[in-house]
């Protein structure tokens, strides 16, 4: 588990109980604690900022509405991860129907920056390359890679979130790395591959 989340978990139960009794400021505290975590996952799964923003908001709205049904059988973080990944993957299915939209938004994101120096251009190209490499992964592999690599979650925790066996998750992660390596090789990244 990520060390950054440990102090947050200390009073999660208390915050949830207050939330259930209608305390809005407790809900606000939960949002402030987990907003970066939720955004980072949605952003990496969906690539595009606008989509990530939309889903981040939707995740917290869903959390607010479903807190009364939250029994505390799992950790709040696990519950949040589950909502976040599921909503992101569902959204990804929708936007995959119109793949060119992502490409356009990436291009617009790059164009909106008024950076002209060679270093900045190189940096933007590199960022674009990383986005595209993640985008090349199938949804399930993408989700497993993000949870394992970026969120540093154990396979058991990812299994609870995605409802998949640990063996299947290991295979997903392994294939994700293999696909990323292939993508780097095919694009002759930095002449290393």
């Amino acid at each position: 588990m990520n060390d950054n989340t440990k102090p947050i978990l200390e009073d999660d139960t208390e915050l949830i109980e207050k939330c259930k009794s209608g305390n809005r400021s407790s809900f606000n505290k939960i949002v402030l604690k987990y907003q970066k975590m939720v955004y980072n996952i949605t952003r990496k799964i969906l690539i595009n900022h606008d989509d990530a923003d939309e889903i981040t908001q939707a995740v917290f709205i869903k959390l607010y509405k479903s807190l009364n049904q939250f029994r505390g059988e799992s950790k709040l973080t696990t519950y949040l991860y589950r909502i976040t990944v599921n909503m992101s993957l569902n959204h990804l299915k929708k936007i995959n129907l119109n793949k060119s939209r992502i490409q356009k938004s990436i291009e617009l994101e790059n164009m909106s920056d008024n950076t002209t120096t060679y270093k900045d251009v190189e940096l933007r190209e590199k960022e674009n390359f990383i986005r595209k490499s993640i985008e090349s992964l199938p949804p399930q592999q993408r989700a497993v890679f993000i949870l394992r690599f970026y969120e540093n979650l154990s396979y058991d925790e990812i299994s609870q979130i995605l409802g998949t066996s640990v063996g299947g998750l290991k295979a997903n992660f392994f294939h994700a790395l293999k696909n990323l390596r292939i993508f780097f090789e095919n694009n002759n990244y930095r002449n290393i591959f």
């Binding site: 809005r24 949002v31 955004y39 590199k126 986005r131 780097f184």
Partner: protein
């Protein structure tokens, strides 16, 4: 690729991320990396990929994004709550209207039923009074009053009463009196009266010229 290579290849991501706590396994991997060129190459490639993903700002949000996120979430929640509340009010309005309608219907039915036990008095044109208590089964007229045991509605009652007038000939209404005063003529009387006032010459003059000619011709034929 040999089975040993595949085994170490699977451990590589964990090794790069520093997730291997087993010291012996760590030493084994390090030893293999020194001797196995292919595994070392894979290790270098994977390490590059990992460092690229760790260092990149490709997924960073715009500046001050997190400052504006909470108010926007709260705004959306408030709107959603308001929408639900409006829907609830609409549903309640509908439910209350329906309840009122049902209540009105029940009240109407109750009032109708309570009328069954009331005495109905209908003042007739000849100042006679019609009194009923129960549904009409039999009617009897006593001292210019019809007293019956059964009734249905005041309208029906009045109709039945008027029918009884003709059959029983006991109660005389103002209309009956007027009706009796009308003078009727026998059929023969009417014809006689008509002939008495008929002027053939006047009638002949009223006819157009060609009609008059026809009449005259017919008249001559008759003579023959």
């Amino acid at each position: 690729m040999s089975e040993t290579e595949i085994k170490y290849l699977e451990y590589l991501p964990e090794y790069i991320q520093g997730n291997i706590s087993d010291e012996e396994l760590k030493k084994e991997i390090e030893k293999e990396l020194k001797t196995n060129e292919k595994l070392k190459e894979e290790y270098e490639k994977l390490k590059t990929i990992f460092s690229e993903f760790e260092e990149t700002n490709a997924f960073s949000p715009p500046e001050n994004y997190f400052n504006s996120l909470l108010p926007r979430i709260n705004e959306r929640i408030d709107k959603s709550v308001l929408r639900k509340l409006k829907q609830l009010i609409i549903n309640w309005k509908f439910a209350i209207s329906l309840a009122l309608l049902i209540l009105l219907f029940i009240s109407y039915k109750l009032i109708n039923n309570s009328n069954d036990n009331q005495t109905i008095e209908i003042t007739l044109s000849d100042s006679s009074v019609l009194t009923e208590k129960e549904p009409i089964l039999d009617t009897s007229v006593v001292n210019n009053e019809i007293k019956t045991e059964n009734y249905e509605t005041p309208v029906n009652l009045k109709e039945k009463y008027l029918k009884n007038i003709n059959t029983n000939k006991v109660i005389e209404t103002e209309k009956n009196k007027e009706f009796n005063q009308i003078e009727f003529f026998e059929e023969d009387d009417i014809i006689d009266t008509y002939e008495e006032y008929f002027d053939p010459e006047y009638e002949f003059r009223k006819l157009p010229y060609y009609e008059q000619q026809k009449v005259l011709e017919n008249f001559e034929n008759l003579k023959i």
